[in-house]
């Protein structure tokens, strides 16, 4: 694995440990040595957990699935930054070469009322699922497969939709926002479907219902600080939030919703 240029790191980790949702939690210090700069951040945590298991201690619980930046489960706060110091990068795609020998790394779970801690670094993000259930879909009739390209979509619309669809629902926007607002997430979903012909039928109903669910789930309100955009590993832009605001206003003023 190692190539010339890879180094070995000794790290001071401060990791949030919490046994369960209603248990008190605290940062716990761990010394970890022999970490290669070629490793990913999650591999570093794997090594730590192997050592903890060998010592008979509880391993650190953290979410992960694809480890290739597409599933959105792996988000944690690394030294106060969602998914760590790199831009447009998920925790699983972050490499240890981003750190220096002797560094202290503080690792905390996403913190929001709407994302309660399940255990250690794992949070419950089902509030996002409930937002999607309330409108983040299109209804289609099943039947014979329609011809490919039968529905014309303008090139720039297709690109807008694609850019918004890049959202992996990781929750970094909520985690990094000082208000724990979910506007960037909701706006990505609303913009994505509002840009496409298939999304028109439920366009007004979708935005009103998704915003109502977002409010009910006790996410904070957006104050346009732009932290979410900077923290987003999928490059979702603030222009989506402006579009969400427009879509919502249009639906409230000009539709039966």
């Amino acid at each position: 694995m190692s190539h010339t240029g890879s180094k070995i790191l000794n790290l001071n980790l401060q990791i949030w440990r919490q046994a369960g949702p209603d248990q008190p939690g605290a940062l716990k210090a761990y010394q970890l040595s022999g970490i290669s700069t070629d490793m990913s951040f999650l591999e570093m945590l794997d090594i730590l957990n192997e050592q903890l298991i060998a010592k008979g201690e509880e391993p650190v619980a953290f979410d992960h699935d694809c480890r290739e930046g597409i599933c959105g489960t792996c988000g944690v706060m690394i030294n106060g930054q969602a998914h760590g110091p790199d831009n447009a990068t998920t925790t699983c795609q972050l490499h240890m070469r981003r750190f220096n020998d002797g560094d202290t790394i503080v690792i905390e779970p996403w913190r929001a009322k709407a994302f309660p801690v399940v255990r250690d670094l794992v949070v419950n993000r089902s509030a996002f699922d409930r937002i999607i259930q309330s409108g983040g879909y299109v209804s289609v009739n099943t039947g014979g497969a329609p011809d490919a390209n039968a529905i014309p979509v303008a090139g720039h619309k297709q690109q807008e939709a694609m850019a918004a669809a890049a959202c992996i629902g990781c929750g970094a926007c909520v985690a990094s926002c000082k208000n724990a607002s979910a506007m960037l997430f909701v706006s990505a979903k609303v913009s994505h479907l509002a840009s496409l012909p298939q999304g028109q039928t439920e366009r007004s109903k979708r935005v009103v219902s998704m915003v109502a669910t977002m409010d009910k789930e006790q996410f904070g309100n957006c104050t346009n600080t732009g932290e979410c955009e900077a923290a987003c590993p999928a490059g979702i832009k603030l222009t989506n939030i402006a579009q969400l605001n427009r879509e919502y206003m249009k639906a409230v003023l000009f539709s039966g919703e």
């Binding site: 030294n79 913190r111 000082k178 309100n221 939030i241 402006a242 579009q243 605001n245």
Partner: protein, 245 residues
């Protein structure tokens, strides 16, 4: 944030007027942002008019007095304008408290470490992070300003009777020469500029107006506007006392 469903107790009247949708809009997060933006922009409009009038202090005592007398001769219009202004201010204030309260509840447990990923130097100095704090300072300043000028109730300032022909100019000068007011006003308007440098541009985003075509321009105008307002108003407590009486 607030629950978007209308509360049952209010449903009766709202349904009578067919305004349930409006109540739901006003209690939704986006509706609140929208009202915040509209009231903020209208208050910006007031600032421009107010500054224009006050800069007459530098022109001449006669011009300033004439302007003040003209305003006060429009008794009814002034009442309407003041009431409107008060309502705007109150709505802006109420929403500031309501959203700040909701936002504080949205994150109960805080991070041990928090850093920005935005490419701006000092997160701590970013206006957008400090809107509530800067707004509170401006509120304090506005209250003192109302006591000073509108109610003329400061015990340490000698006011000229308002029927005296030179009263507006003399009283403005008396207030602006008061050391306490000079300090508070200068700080107040600088913090106001800080507040506006985010608030003005942010209002357009809240209204859904964000596009690469014009958003960079809006951001520049916002900074320029904030600077002009702060500098324009700060010139009053700083320079006016040195005008010869």
């Amino acid at each position: 944030m607030s629950d978007s469903a209308a509360s049952p107790s209010k449903a009766g009247i709202l349904d009578w007027f067919g305004l349930r949708w409006f109540f739901r809009f006003l209690s939704s997060s986006i509706g609140q942002k929208f009202v915040m933006a509209i009231t903020g922009l209208l208050l910006c409009g007031f600032l421009v008019v107010h500054l224009e009038g006050n800069l007459l202090l530098f022109v001449s005592a006669e011009k300033y007095n004439a302007y003040a007398h003209f305003l006060h001769s429009q008794e009814e219009l002034l009442m309407v304008a003041e009431t409107g202004l008060f309502v705007l201010f109150l709505a802006h204030l109420y929403l500031a408290f309501a959203t700040a309260w909701g936002n504080a509840k949205a994150r109960v447990d805080q991070y041990a470490v928090k850093q920005t990923k935005q490419a701006k130097g000092l997160w701590a100095a970013s206006p957008s992070t400090w809107m509530f704090a800067s707004g509170s300072v401006v509120l304090g300043f506005v209250i003192l300003h109302l006591i000073d000028m509108k109610f003329q109730a400061r015990p340490d300032i000698v006011y000229l009777d308002e029927h005296a022909p030179n009263a507006p100019y003399a009283n403005a000068l008396a207030v602006l020469s008061n050391p306490i007011s000079r300090v508070v006003y200068t700080i107040g308007v600088i913090v106001l500029g800080f507040h506006l440098s985010h608030g003005f541009a942010s209002a357009f985003q809240s209204l859904g107006l964000n596009h690469p075509k014009y958003t960079p321009l809006i951001k520049w105008i916002s900074r320029l506007f904030a600077f002009a307002i702060a500098a324009g108003f700060a010139s009053l407590p700083i320079l006016v006392p040195s005008l010869s009486r």
